[in-house]
């Protein structure tokens, strides 16, 4: 059993904050150093307590807009060794792209639904604390949907099963955990992962970096969208 991960939680809703704190501490794999309600308090706590990772809400006082993302950027800049997972209600990919606009290392974007999946949540915190990246599959879906409208786009070539694997990969899962989640054999997962990287023309990379690679690819602008009326159905 590794040392519990030391984290700080930022969430303005008291019930949610305490619920998540209890959930994580009950797991025994995480120590919550502090729970705060605003981004300012968060930055203060990070400076004082030096956690390994931060779990923060996206909307907090005073403006209830994107304080969590701004705080994540600030933390990553001031303390590159601290990972940040942003919890969000927004399924709009725009927020994830905003979070990752300066690079995805040590950053994670999860929907709040994930608090129900303790393993995924803890794993994401561990992943970002080691410089990895985590993206909620919902966001991957949205990005892929947008890209795969263009038949020429590489994403359009991915099979549904490969997309399933991609979603799990985005959560920072190792091949072993993907096998577990999708009830697939080790070789099948490996085959799908290789196919994904080949189809997207992304050079094979370590598990730790492959989410970042996929994200980098997704953030690249797709080919020119098809003009109206110029293509046969």
């Amino acid at each position: 059993m590794p040392e519990p991960l030391e984290i700080v939680i930022a969430e303005d809703n008291y019930l949610v904050r305490e619920g998540v704190r209890r959930l994580l501490e009950d797991s025994g794999r995480v120590t919550v150093l502090a729970g705060v309600g605003t981004a300012v308090e968060l930055l203060d706590a990070v400076r004082r307590l030096g956690p390994e990772a931060v779990l923060t809400d996206i909307r907090m006082p005073p403006t209830h807009r994107m304080e969590g993302i701004e705080a994540a950027h600030a933390i990553r800049e001031a303390h590159p060794e601290i990972g940040v997972v942003v919890l969000s209600q927004h399924t709009d990919e725009a927020y994830a792209l905003a979070l990752f606009e300066n690079g995805s290392a040590g950053l994670g974007y999860l929907l709040k639904d994930r608090v129900g999946d303790l393993d995924d949540l803890v794993h994401a915190l561990v992943e970002v604390s080691t410089g990895g990246s985590v993206v909620d599959p919902v966001i991957i879906d949205a990005l892929v949907r947008r890209r795969s409208r263009d038949e020429a786009d590489p994403f359009a070539a991915l099979t549904p099963r490969e997309l399933d694997v991609l979603r799990e990969m985005a959560l920072g899962k190792t091949n072993a955990r993907i096998e577990e989640a999708l009830y697939l054999s080790s070789s099948t997962v490996e085959k799908h992962v290789n196919a994904i990287f080949t189809k997207l023309s992304i050079p094979e990379t370590g598990v730790n970096r492959r989410v970042a690679a996929v994200l980098a690819f997704l953030q690249r602008p797709s080919g020119d969208p098809r003009p109206i009326g110029t293509s046969a159905p």
């Binding site: 927004h90 399924t91 109206i228 009326g229 293509s231």
Partner: protein, 736 residues
Amino acid sequence: MIPRKAWFVTLGVLGIGSLSYVFVVQGFVSPDPDPGAGLGWPLVGVLPLYALGMWLLTATSSRVALYVALGATGALVGSAFETLVRTHPDLLTTPGYPYLNTVGITADAVATVGLVLMIGAFPDGVIERQWQRVALGTVWVCLLVAPLTLLTTPHVVLPQYLGLSAEIDNPVVVPWLEWGAPLVDDLVVHPWLPASLGVLVLVSRAFTGDARTRARVRVMACSVLVWMGSWVLWMITLELGLRDTPLGVAAGLMTLSMLAVPVALIHGILRYGAFDVADADRARLVVRSSTTFIAVLYGIAVAAPALLLFDRLEPVSAVLLTALAAVALLPLRGWLQRAVTRAVLGDREHHVALLGELGARLEQAMELDDVLARLAEGVRGGLDASWVRVQVLGADGQAVTSPAGIAGDVVGDAVATQDLIRGDEHLGRLELGPRRRGEYDVAELALLQTVARQATTTVANVRLTARLNEQLDELSASRMRLITAQDEERRRIERNLHDGIQQSVVALIANLGRARQRLQRDELRPLELVELQDQAREMLTDLRELARGIHPQVLSDRGLVAAVESRSSRFPVPLAVIADERARATRFAPDIEAVAFYTVREALANVAKHSGASCARVSLSVDGDRLQVEVVDDGSGFSSGGRGSAGGLTNIRDRVAAVSGELVVDAAPGGGTRIVVDLPLSGAMSESVSVPSTVERPVATDTDDLDAAADAAIPEPALSTDTLAPVHRAEEAARA
């Protein structure tokens, strides 16, 4: 045709010369004791008519004016001849007298002809009937009196009014023509026949002419009848050889009644502009000469009593009488001067009055047709036009028949037109029919321009007010629609919350209760809790979608392009989103972003629901200070008025109008649909800062829906009370 100026000079020299001679001789050298001679006739009987005639010569081009001047001059020359012969009776015996005599009888004939023609052709020289023209034409024969008498009569025919008789042999008589002597005497020498003809023509015109002629001729006819009556009386006394008092009375009556003729002429000028004296380019001359004329009249009237009674008054009494007359007649002179000025220049004063009055009239008018009617009526009255028509031009530049202002009966073509132009906008046209009397002069046309400018402003204002009212109505309707749409949206949200999520929460509570019971009985399995968790997750997803429907948070947080792109990833039809650099880089005012996003959302909803399109495209671009949003699909399109999207389009239109934007819908059945919305980025509504990131924002308002944003964007400030107030007043006035 002898020029008018030559007439004026000739008659002026002859008349003034004769008058001066008579005045000097009769007044100072050898006053004639004979009643009926003396200064009475030339000064009181003839001089006013002469002065009036000469004045008319300068003031009008009427033929009748020449008749008056000619007749009066003839009378003066005749009077001078008589004075000459009466003061030098020995002339009668000189051998040359028969030839000198022709001057006298010709002068009398000229007087007769001039006055008779004046009487018959009054007031404008137009004689209606053939027989009247023939009758008056025969009068000219009288001018041949000199040769006719010289040829036919054995004795020289002395002038009628000489008052002397002598038998002088006619040295050039042609014996075999002597038979014509009585004829010449009756028809030519005596003025009975021509005078009767003139009176007959005048009276027949006064009684049998059309209404206009009757009205104009009646006063002159009465005056002439009085004059002729006293003239006949006087002739009878002369024929009867009566002398002394009877003759004096008859001569005095005749002389005084002669004054009725100039009075009738003046009446005609004042009453209905006889001789076209009101013709405005002569107006100043007329006033000046009439001032002189009135001064002369006044002088005569003041001097007349003393002169008439010259031989019977002591000098002191004469001076007193004259002074009394001067004082007594002074008000009369003033009145006459004012009356003439008013009659002649009245139009000009009226013009100024017209301008002022028209301004006041137009101010009161609120409706366009009312303005046009008042304008037409005012111009017609002011410029004495037979008709006036004012038309406004429609948007296509064609004259609109209604509303139009028409005064008088429009007959024939317009003789003057004036366009109503404001800036480079052609608002309408003002047309004038012929002037009722004479023609329009430069000053009147200039006045027309001024009036037209004034009217243009009013027409523009009234149009503007009407347009404002229309916009106000449209604005009220659009606001009503927005409020209705907002209410419907609220009901929809309430329904979703009540029927959807609330029921799910109830189910979750029930399931949790059941799980607790099963836990107590140790029957609870982990999978059941996973199911409950999934149930809660579904609720969360539902809530998220609902929140997004109320207001896409990404729009406020990440801007228009991010929000549209985010939408595109959920869109069931392949959708391209193209945004230029400025559109991506700029955060627009919240109301503009809200309207633009709403446009895209509604348009895409239409595409998804109705069009059957295989692909669609959203373009966002910034051009100058305009944001252009274009939504294009390759679907079925629609004909305007068809398909269920009309409601959606109306909503878009309302919201776009609320931020002063423009909406263009380009759709044809089978040809796809193109919706372009053009939104202004500058202006009062978008001056707010792009994103108020540091402003405290209560959580509750964070979920403000789009309708609220669009409502806030309704341009209230543009309709401040200042602008609305006149409109309300206008409406009240209209109601009243």
